[in-house]
Symmetry: C2
Subunit: 242 residues, 2 copies
C-alpha cells in the first residue's frame, strides 16, 4: 500500500520556501484573475502562456509575430499592451495558436517563486481536471495562493480550501497544515454565496468597476469548464489535456 502523501496550503509566495521540498507538485492559484485568465485562454486555443515578471520583459515581445502581450498592475490594463487581466478578453477566436506573454501583479510572481518544481495553475474553470491529475499523481502537493502583493487574500484561500477538500476526499492524502484547515473553514463560511462573502474583501473594495464585477462573478462561477492543465515547462505554460 502506498503511503499517503501530504497536501498543504501556502498563503503567500513569500512564505513558499518554508513549504518547498523535493518531489512536489505546486498548484498556483490567482483566482481573481490571472489563473482564470490562463485557463480561459487555453480553452480558447492559445498555444502557450509566458508569464513574465516585468512590463519591460513583456514589451520586448511586442513586435514578434504571433505573440499577444498582456499586462495588469493594480487591476488595470497597461498602455501599450493588447490585453489585460480580464478572462473576457480571451474569449476570442483571434487568440488561437498564438503565444500569450502575461505579467500580472501577483499570479506571475507566484509562478516564478515556485518554478523549480512541477508547477501547474488552477482556477474554477479547470478545478476538476486538476483534482483528477493530483489524485492520480500521488505526490506531495502545495497549493500556492498568489495573494495580494505577498499578503494573504481571501479569494485564493477559499479556492485552496475547495481544491484541498476535493483532494482529501480521495483518502489518498493527509494534511498537517493549519493554513489548509483555515482555508476549509473559510470555504464552509463562504460557499453558500461566494460572491457575497467576498463583498468586504480587499479585492472587491479596490475593484468596483462594472468590468471587474463581471469578471469576478465569472471567475468564481465560470460558465466554461476545461480539461486543460497548464504546466510550467522551460519558461512557459504549456497545455496538457487530462
Amino acid at each position: 500500500m502506498n503511503k499517503k502523501k501530504q497536501i498543504s496550503v501556502c498563503f503567500s509566495p513569500d512564505l513558499f520556501h518554508y513549504y518547498n521540498k523535493e518531489n512536489l507538485i505546486v498548484v498556483v492559484v490567482d483566482i481573481l484573475r490571472a489563473t482564470t485568465v490562463i485557463s480561459t485562454a487555453f480553452e480558447y486555443g492559445i498555444k502557450s502562456v509566458i508569464p513574465v515578471e516585468t512590463l519591460e520583459e513583456a514589451l520586448s515581445y511586442k513586435e514578434k509575430e504571433n505573440y499577444i502581450i498582456a499586462a495588469e498592475r493594480n487591476t488595470k490594463i497597461i498602455e501599450g499592451f493588447n490585453f489585460g487581466n480580464s478572462p473576457h478578453h480571451y474569449m476570442n477566436k483571434d487568440i488561437k495558436e498564438k503565444e500569450l506573454v502575461l505579467t500580472t501583479t501577483n499570479g506571475t510572481k507566484a509562478i516564478h517563486k515556485a518554478k523549480e518544481n512541477i508547477l501547474i495553475t488552477a482556477s474554477y474553470i479547470n478545478i476538476d481536471a486538476v483534482k483528477r491529475y493530483l489524485i492520480q499523481e500521488q505526490k506531495d502537493i502545495v497549493i500556492l495562493c498568489s495573494g495580494w502583493k505577498n499578503r494573504f487574500n481571501l479569494e485564493d484561500s477559499i479556492f485552496a480550501g475547495d481544491l484541498a477538500t476535493l483532494i482529501l476526499d480521495s483518502n489518498k492524502y493527509i494534511s498537517n497544515c493549519d493554513s489548509l484547515s483555515a482555508s476549509q473553514t473559510l470555504l464552509r463560511s463562504a460557499q453558500s454565496d461566494l460572491f457575497r462573502f467576498l463583498e468586504n474583501s480587499a479585492y472587491r473594495k479596490r475593484n468596483q468597476s462594472v468590468e471587474v464585477i463581471k469578471d469576478t462573478k465569472f471567475c468564481l462561477n465560470p460558465t466554461i469548464t476545461s480539461n486543460i492543465i497548464p504546466f510550467f515547462i522551460n519558461g512557459r505554460l504549456e497545455k496538457r489535456i487530462i
Copy 2:
C-alpha cells in the same frame, strides 16, 4: 473629528515588513504559549522579560543574580534552563522582582521582527487591558501572529480575530485587511469551543502530553486576568498597568 485608524492582522513574522509603517502599535501574539507565559509572569510579579533569539544569548545570563532563564524549542524545555514555556511554571512567588530571560520557537522571534515600533504583547489573560489601551491610543494597529516557524497557525489567528473584533466594535477603527476578515471568520467558527476547534491543529498534533494539554486549556481560557501590558522598551518587556 479624528480620522479612523487602520487595524490589520499579519499571519507571519516573515510578512511583517509588508504591514510595517510609521506610527504603528504592533501587538505580538503567541497564544500557545509565549505571550501567555509573559502575561502570567508579570501577573506573578516578574520585573521584566528579556526576549532573546538564541539559546546562547539566554545562557549568558545564567550566572547573573536575580535572573531566571527560560527556553523552549519545539515545545520542550531545554537542559540547563530553569524554566520552560509553560505558564504554570510562573505561578510561583519565587519569580517576584526577578528578570526573566526567555527564548522560544516563535514568539520571541516575532518580537524581534517588529521591535522598532511601539510593541506590546497580548494573550487571553490581558486581552481586556490591551483592548482598552488600543482604543484609547488611536494609532494604526497591526496584530502580529507569531505563527509556527513563520507559517500561519490557527490559534494566533483566532486570538487576532477576537482582539480585532473588540477593537472594531469601538467604531474608532476600520480595516481593509483580508487576514483580519479571515481571522474573524475563523473565530466565529471556533468560539463555541475553541479547545475542540483546535483539535486538528498542527499544534495539538505535535503536543499530546498531559502538560501541554493542561497549558493549552489555560492559554485559551485562563483562570487569571491581568491589567498589565508588557511594552518592549530598550531590549526588554516592561510592565505598564492599564
